[in-house]
């Protein structure tokens, strides 16, 4: 079969316009598909609770926005004494934009001791230092995703949501929400925010449990503890919390999935169209090949190979393009102070390539069979 490969490649090279148009069409469709898939994967990663998740978020009951969720900081010891709770970090959240948008800055104010004991160990400090954070009251530890998105460097001062912080450190972490946040001193945020800014009020508590298996049970225990208080709580696993806060985003992305399937259909249609048109033009040419002694199977192979190559070129370009775009720059859709990251891994690249090859082989298969079974002598009579 290798001997026949030049027959396929020569055709593609010597009809450059047709090849280019098909490849570009497939590339655009595949690019779209990959971006939609990456977004969907980002939503799943941010919102699907998986075994081993051990963080609960305690929020004010019936509140959905960081501006309106207010809980007394003195809940902290009461949560801490509930069996199974490992750490409790009170957190004041301040966001630059509460609605869904790209590039939102989320500040998380936490008490210094909780920061050092609980938050810091999740980070690998890549610039600056924890000491610098401790020294300054307006210091911030900036997550790597936020830092790279905003081009933030240690020593910078940066402003968002009406406050200005000093960048004391930049930290790398796998924790999705932490990567996209800037950690400040709790008191600083409480004062600077001013909105309901009396000390002693926080937005939420982040609770780490010692046994992930008991995540739900502990959440219920926390809510039961405060049910009779003036500020009742609603406690959820962190990712479920993100899912609730970012409902709109989740829904839009779910809808966008149709766009992704549509893009795949476009890949299929483009390759099928290119092949079918070509075949109609070349019915006689294939009849000549068969007259020369090429079997139907070989001819069908040539047709399928041509489709597969078009799909591979276009799909490859589209998938690589999407991969490059999303790995050079991390996009993050945020709302209510939570983040959904859109990023691409090698598996996206691979699935895009596989999808385009499979679809283009399918697109070529039907016309290939038709040619292989068509009326040979009749092909010369048209």
């Amino acid at each position: 079969m290798i001997r026949f490969a030049p027959l396929v490649t020569k055709r593609l090279v010597r009809q450059p316009l047709r090849t280019l148009l098909t490849v570009v069409g497939v590339a655009v469709a595949m690019f779209l598909y990959c971006v939609v898939e990456a977004t969907q994967a980002g939503v799943t990663r941010a919102t699907a609770v998986v075994a081993g998740d051990s963080v609960l978020v305690v929020y004010r009951e019936n509140r959905y926005c960081p501006f309106t969720s207010r809980l007394p900081q003195h809940y902290q010891p009461r949560i801490a004494q509930i069996p199974g709770v490992a750490h409790v970090v009170p957190m004041k959240i301040l966001v630059s934009n509460c609605r869904a948008s790209l590039d939102v800055v989320t500040f998380r104010g936490v008490p210094e001791q909780d920061f050092l004991e609980t938050t810091l160990p999740d980070f690998e400090i890549v610039a600056g230092s924890a000491e610098a954070w401790s020294h300054r009251s307006d210091a911030a530890l900036v997550g790597d995703a936020l830092a790279s998105r905003r081009g933030i460097k240690v020593g910078d001062r940066f402003s968002a949501a009406g406050i200005t912080v000093y960048v004391a450190a930049i930290g790398r972490t796998d924790e999705l929400q932490s990567r996209n946040a800037a950690y400040t001193h709790l008191a600083f945020l409480q004062e600077a925010a001013q909105r309901g800014g009396t000390g002693g009020v926080v937005t939420q508590f982040n609770v780490t449990v010692s046994d992930p298996e008991r995540l739900d049970a502990i959440a219920q225990a926390i809510d039961a503890e405060f049910a009779a208080d003036s500020e009742p709580t609603f406690t959820q696993p962190e990712k479920a919390f993100v899912g609730r806060a970012a409902t709109d985003v989740v829904e839009i992305v779910g809808f966008a999935r149709w766009l992704g399937w549509g893009a795949l259909a476009a890949v299929f249609a483009l390759v099928a169209n290119a092949i079918v048109l070509a075949i109609n033009e070349r019915v006689r040419e294939y009849a000549i090949l068969e007259t020369l002694g090429f079997t139907g199977a070989t001819i069908a192979g040539l047709i399928v190979a041509e489709g597969a190559l078009l799909g591979l070129l276009g799909g490859g370009a589209g998938a690589v393009g999407a991969f490059a775009l999303l790995s050079l720059q991390t996009y993050s859709v945020s709302m209510e102070g939570v983040h959904v990251e859109v990023s691409a891994g090698p598996s996206l690249l691979l699935s895009g390539l596989v999808a385009s090859i499979v679809l283009s082989v399918l697109a070529g298969a039907v016309p290939a069979l038709r040619v292989a079974r068509g009326d040979l002598a009749g092909a010369f009579r048209t």
Binding site: Q15, G293, G296, L376, A377
Partner: protein, 237 residues
């Protein structure tokens, strides 16, 4: 045993209620090394017969043996493989592959043979030289004249060295000058290489290049059924 043997060969087409029989109970023997011209009015079944001989069409009934091989029972794929060694076909409209150069068109049938690249090159170049196109290797069909295209097509039919060459009005689309060149070439293949040639033509002048001419009318031969290189000539020559 003759090189080509047709026994009660028949081809019918059914279109709805109509049945067309372009070829009717045809008996024909052709000896090896014969150059046979087939003439007859339009629609008399000339192309149909040629296609049956090439195995690109199948008879509705009858037997057809070529070089001892009964080809009516072969599968479509087996027929293709058989053609790649046994038959060269030349079309009226040349039918070169437009995206391939003259050289690549001629090399095409050799891809089906287990040959080294070097050997393929040797045979391709030799055959192009034989048809007088040694200097046109890299030309695409659209860059060649009709006569040159037909030479390339003849080279392509010849390159695998088949015993049987079939040509359907090979000069039908050419002017007198180019036609003469093509006929001289075909006659030389017959004379120097001993190929068996069956050629369809409308033109009596073209037919004079053949050893023998047979006439088809309404799917029947109107000349003696046995013709051979040393049988008495009936038409033409």
């Amino acid at each position: 045993m003759s090189f080509v043997e047709c026994r009660a060969l028949e081809r019918t087409y059914t279109r709805g209620d109509n049945t067309i029989t372009p070829l009717r109970a045809l008996d024909l023997e052709i000896e090896q090394g014969t150059f046979l011209a087939l003439m007859g009015p339009s629609g008399s079944g000339k192309t149909t017969l040629l296609n049956l001989l090439a195995g690109i069409d199948r008879p509705s009934s009858g037997e057809l043996r070529i070089d001892g091989q009964e080809i009516t029972t072969l599968s479509r794929a087996a027929l293709a493989r058989w053609r790649s060694v046994a038959v060269g076909y030349v079309f009226q409209l040349y039918h070169l592959v437009p995206v391939l150069t003259a050289y690549e068109n001629v090399e095409l049938p050799l891809l089906l043979h287990d040959l080294s690249r070097k050997e393929r090159h040797r045979r391709t170049a030799l055959t192009l030289e034989l048809v007088g196109l040694a200097d046109r290797h890299d030309h695409y069909p659209r860059q060649l004249s009709g006569g040159q295209e037909q030479r390339v097509a003849i080279a392509r039919a010849l390159v695998t060295d088949p015993q049987l060459i079939l040509a359907d009005e090979p000069t039908g689309d050419l002017d007198a000058e180019a036609a003469k060149g093509i006929m001289t070439l075909l006659a030389a293949l017959h004379r120097d290489l001993g190929k068996t040639l069956v050629m369809v033509t409308h033109d009596p002048k073209t037919a004079t290049f053949a050893d023998l001419t047979l006439h088809l009318e309404k799917g029947r031969l109107v000349s003696p059924a046995t013709v051979g290189a040393d049988a008495p000539a009936e038409g033409g020559a």
